[in-house]
């Protein structure tokens, strides 16, 4: 049934690509305005070595950014959980902070942290932190009190209650957040590179479009989507491995 679920969207995608190819050819659209899929494929193949170095750079930023977002997001969720007072004070601020356009922050980060990897990692972290922190925090509050009571009645210590009840109960929420974060993260890195970088898909995109190498722009966009999808699938696989109980019941 997995193949059946994939076959229809794949067929539609192929048809759209064919239509695109056909229209570009029929209307004789100049290559620098809209290149045909075949031209994009060709550009991809010709620049594969260059693309690989950019992808490596971008994914490094993504990996560090997600790592920082997971550790700080989970830590903040735990802190909010320890103090209902802190939670009431900080939770609304967290939500409000999401209205700050991260895109507009990126140039500031360059001013503060220079052109190295740090500002990119920070942008990725800013994109990923919120869904992880909020979801984990919600997951921790959603623990069934009866389960905690049961362990308390058995004389369990607080670390035991966290290890055996609270963390597993929050895990599905954490993974929902991580899946959202994973899809944001690559875009975050590209935004970070956009404002100034030596390497990475973002700066490659910018350079290609400045040089009217439109096919290269499209191939970079395609690889960006692909990376996001791959990242999402990675999280999905880890999720299934870590929570078989959650998936086997449905």
């Amino acid at each position: 049934m997995m193949t059946a679920r994939l076959i229809f969207p794949a067929a539609v995608l192929l048809m759209l690509l064919a239509l695109w190819e056909l229209l570009v050819w029929a209307l004789a659209v100049p290559k620098w305005i809209v290149p045909a899929p075949s031209a994009i494929g060709q550009a991809f193949w010709e620049t594969r070595a260059l693309l690989a170095t950019h992808v490596r750079q971008t994914m490094l930023e993504v990996a560090i950014g997600i790592g920082v977002a997971v550790s700080t997001g989970v830590a903040l969720a735990a802190v909010l959980d320890f103090s209902p007072w802190l939670r009431r004070a900080i939770y609304p601020l967290l939500v409000i902070s999401q209205t700050v356009p991260i895109l507009a922050l990126a140039p500031l980060l360059i001013i503060w942290f220079g052109f190295g990897i740090a500002p990119k990692v920070i942008v990725v972290t800013l994109f990923c932190f919120f869904p992880i922190a909020i979801n984990t925090s919600d997951g921790l509050t959603a623990t069934e009190p009866e389960l905690i009571d049961l362990l308390r009645s058995m004389g369990a210590t607080w670390p035991q209650i966290w290890q055996k009840v609270r963390l597993p109960a929050a895990l599905p929420y954490f993974f929902s957040g991580l899946k959202i974060a994973a899809t944001y993260s690559v875009v975050g890195a590209i935004v970070g590179e956009w404002v100034g970088a030596k390497q990475g898909l973002g700066i490659h995109l910018l350079r290609s479009s400045a040089a009217f190498k439109t096919a290269q722009v499209f191939s970079a966009i395609a690889i960006t989507s692909l990376l996001s999808i791959l990242l999402f699938l990675t999280v999905f696989v880890i999720e299934r491995k870590m929570m078989p109980w959650y998936f086997e019941r449905r």
């Binding site: 009571d149 049961l150 308390r152 009645s153 058995m154 004389g155 055996k164």
Partner: protein
């Protein structure tokens, strides 16, 4: 020999969460009773009469306003004194969804830091008796209601505590499953030498299982009757048709004062 003594327990809830005109709710008022070792004590009473509060106090989840709990001659004044002393089975089965049936039933040993392997093999031996043979590696979500209750009961038995507090263990089950499990519990009980406090809404259940029945008044919970049930063992579903059983039943109903 007195195993457990409950001495003038009172408990009032003054929670902000209690809505309506009554912000203060008295759950228990000056409750005293004693339980002998090996006794099966049924506790029956109307909804909200504080039965569950009694169990929550005994298992160290609530602190009484006044009164004393004494187990084996040892007073247990603090919540932490009472935690880890009773095998408490809450109303809902509360199996941990992320543990297999086998790992759920050994939770007590796991918390105590005992060897999991040892606990697993001991539990494995008991699975057939609890009707869970072949289900050891299944997630709780795959079990039927009756099986979930039996798994929760096995977990409670395996905590190793002498006194078990069972809060309406069969309350959520259909009548037929409930009867099967009552019969089964009568059988299991003779194999384990446990002292059992058993909350129920069902008069037949209270009489069929209990050596003694405590009847609670409506809130605040007080004991309106303390009745020894001298029906002979082994008891079966036919016992509920005996004249002596019906006499007990009439007596309990009279004390329940159902409005």
């Amino acid at each position: 020999m007195t195993l457990l003594a409950v001495d003038s327990l009172s408990k009032t809830f003054s929670s902000a969460a209690a809505k309506g005109a009554q912000p203060v709710v008295q759950a228990l008022a000056d409750l005293s009773f004693q339980v002998a070792a090996g006794e099966f004590l049924s506790i029956i009473g109307p909804s909200g009469c504080g039965k569950s509060t009694l169990f929550r106090i005994l298992s160290g989840l609530e602190q009484p306003d006044t009164g004393q709990v004494t187990l084996q001659g040892q007073p247990l004044p603090l919540e932490t004194d009472r935690q880890g002393r009773f095998g408490y089975m809450p109303q809902r089965d509360t199996l941990l969804p992320w543990r297999t049936v086998l790992d759920n039933v050994i939770l007590g040993a796991d918390l105590a830091g005992d060897s999991r392997e040892l606990a697993r093999s001991e539990a494995q031996r008991l699975l057939p008796l609890f009707g869970l043979d072949g289900f050891e590696n299944v997630w709780p979500s795959a079990l039927s209601g009756g099986m979930r209750q039996r798994a929760a009961l096995l977990r409670t038995f395996l905590t190793g505590y002498e006194t078990l507090l069972l809060d309406e263990p069969f309350g959520a089950l259909d009548a037929l499953t409930r009867r099967v499990l009552q019969q089964w519990l009568l059988g299991v009980r003779t194999r384990f030498k446990k002292t059992i406090l058993f909350i129920t809404h069902d008069i037949d259940e209270a009489l069929l299982l209990g050596d003694r029945v405590l009847v609670f008044s409506p809130r605040p919970g007080r004991i309106t009757a303390d009745l020894p049930i001298d029906l002979p063992h082994p008891r079966s579903q036919d016992t509920v048709l005996d004249d002596s059983f019906l006499a007990h039943k009439r007596n309990v109903m009279a004390h329940l004062k159902l409005e």
